[in-house]
């Protein structure tokens, strides 16, 4: 029970302190850009009505989900192919380094030119492209870093290509793939918002920009808080999935470290 309390305190302690600090620091504020936290919280339920959640939040999250899923799929498939083939790797490496170095937000206007400013396609492509590189590069490293004895074992038992892929290569690379996917998820959230800043009428990012432009400052703040909460929620969901799929890895690491 005490450990549970301690963990709850560790988890919530700092957020509570920060919220309290914000609350008291902003309490008497008269600045229109820096409204008191109490005003922001009052505006929250009236701003994020069911109508807005369905009309703005869900489409944004759906685009994030589709873009992220595409990046995971393409990243794992391409990363595995590149990781397994030295020829492919030699060909792809300089190109990969180039694309990785290009900051994804820069691509937004270019993609919008081809895929349209207002539709879903451009935004999904933006999110997917931004999420792709960390997953792809980590998959390549994960596949390359597979324990050679495991590869020999698979070969000496004559495991077929796809069995080797499915039961040896991919599970072996999965810790790295998850590392990449975790980085990609935070990039995805950023791109979800950025892709809506340039041209969109509905969506979480678009709503925040509209609030700002119409001087609905407390509403704008609620949008930012909502974004933060969504980030926390997504990270938590990711953690649950990771803990389930990498249970073997966590357990093995703990034993190796003698914990």
């Amino acid at each position: 029970m005490t450990t549970l309390l301690k963990r709850a305190f560790m988890l919530l302690g700092l957020p509570i302190i920060l919220v309290a600090a914000w609350w008291f620091a902003s309490a008497g504020s008269t600045s229109p850009f820096w409204p008191p936290l109490s005003t922001i919280l009052e505006a929250f339920p009236t701003t994020w009505t069911m109508d807005r959640i369905v009309g703005d939040v869900f489409p944004s999250l759906a685009r994030l989900g589709i873009g992220f899923a595409l990046a995971v799929l393409v990243g794992i498939v391409a990363g595995t192919a590149i990781g397994l083939s030295p020829t492919l790797r030699a060909l792809a490496e300089p190109v990969l380094e180039f694309f990785r170095a290009v900051p994804p937000p820069v691509l937004v206007p270019i993609i919008a030119l081809f895929a349209g400013y207002t539709g879903w396609l451009g935004k999904i492509v933006t999110i997917a492209l931004g999420c792709l590189w960390p997953i792809l590069l980590n998959t390549v490293e994960g596949v390359r870093g597979l324990e050679p004895v495991l590869g020999d074992t698979a070969k000496s038992y004559q495991l077929s290509r796809w069995r080797r892929l499915l039961f040896v290569v991919l599970p072996g690379a999965s810790p790295r793939i998850f590392t990449g996917a975790r980085q990609a998820l935070s990039i995805g959230v950023i791109l979800m918002v950025i892709s809506e800043l340039f041209g969109a009428n509905r969506g979480l990012g678009a709503a925040i920009v509209q609030f700002q432009r119409s001087f609905a400052i407390p509403q704008m703040w609620t949008g930012i808080i909502l974004l933060g909460l969504i980030g926390v929620l997504l990270a938590a969901i990711f953690k649950v999935v990771e803990n389930r799929m990498l249970a073997w890895y966590v357990g093995q690491r703990q034993i190796e470290r003698g914990v």
Binding site: D152, T153, R163
Partner: protein, 291 residues
């Protein structure tokens, strides 16, 4: 053994030494590492030996004698430069059917994301064995190595000795025609090692599997083997093929204090010492190699 003697042996139906008696046949095996930009390294100069079906043969040699190179060549994980490795009458060009390898690095040869049962099951799935039969084979193999209760655990939850027993269980469940073991007990403690040696002896005796056991430990080689193949230093040739005429029934205490064990051990020890000094029998020159 040449093709002609194999054929005549089969044609004459001689029960004493039929050609199929040979499980593994090394014919003039030579291996030179030729990495571009590096000097050539001749690892194995010439090796010729045969292992009969059901035999337990140990290979020892001084460190750096190319034991691992030899094992990887036999396992089809490495191409030989000249000569050939023949398993069950078929030349080995890649990992052959009917061979299972137990590697030294037990902790790294088991799939950590699978349970013990799944580790043993994977090669059986590949063989296309139906599920019920697979389970039966797994259970039997686990029983052989006394690990029945660890079936649902992951390898990393087990001790080193237990992990190596899982690797052995996986190999015997596969029912190979030849079982290769590459210094399998080099990384476990002395007591576990003695237990595992006895396990190999007893498995070999009642499963009738052919075993090629590579080790650097002279005592282990003499204790386990029916024959001990002693390798020279690099580039490797055969120093001597020592027959171990100890009783088939062996145990750690009596066998190791047997006078004959001491003699054999001393003999192999001396061969290794000579090999280390660079003393080696004249090797037949490999054909076609430019000297």
């Amino acid at each position: 053994m040449s093709i002609t003697t194999m054929l005549s042996g089969r044609a004459a139906q001689t029960p004493a030494a039929p050609a199929t008696d040979i499980a593994l046949d090394l014919r003039g095996v030579q291996k030179t590492y030729d990495t571009p930009g590096r000097p050539e390294v001749e690892a194995i100069r010439h090796l010729d030996f045969q292992i009969r079906r059901g035999e337990l043969v140990c290979v020892v040699g001084p460190s750096g004698a190319g034991k691992t190179t030899l094992l990887r060549s036999i396992a089809g994980l490495l191409d030989v430069t000249a000569g050939e490795v023949v398993l069950d009458g078929k030349a080995v060009t890649g990992p052959p059917e009917g061979m299972a390898v137990v590697f030294q690095e037990y902790g790294r040869s088991l799939f950590p994301w699978m349970t013990v049962r799944q580790n043993i099951e994977l090669p059986l799935k590949e063989k296309g064995i139906p599920k019920a039969e697979r389970q039966e084979k797994i259970d039997r193999a686990l029983k052989e190595v006394s690990l029945t209760e660890a079936a649902e655990q992951h390898p990393w939850q087990l001790s080193g000795g237990m992990q190596q027993r899982v690797a052995i269980a996986r190999a015997i469940a596969f029912e190979p025609s030849v079982l290769l073991m590459d210094e399998p007990f080099a990384a476990v403690d002395a007591q576990t090692r003695a237990e595992l040696e006895d396990l190999v002896r007893s498995l070999w005796k009642h499963l009738g599997v052919t075993v090629l056991f590579v080790t650097h430990d002279i005592d282990e080689a003499v204790y386990l083997g029916e024959r001990v193949i002693v390798l020279s230093n690099r580039p490797t040739v055969l120093m001597e093929d020592v027959k171990v005429d100890l009783p088939a029934e062996r145990d750690q205490l009596t066998t190791r204090s047997d006078r004959r064990f001491g003699e054999l051990r001393g003999h192999v020890y001396e061969l290794i010492q000579r090999a280390k000094r660079g003393d080696r029998p004249d090797a037949p020159q490999p054909e076609g190699a430019g000297f």
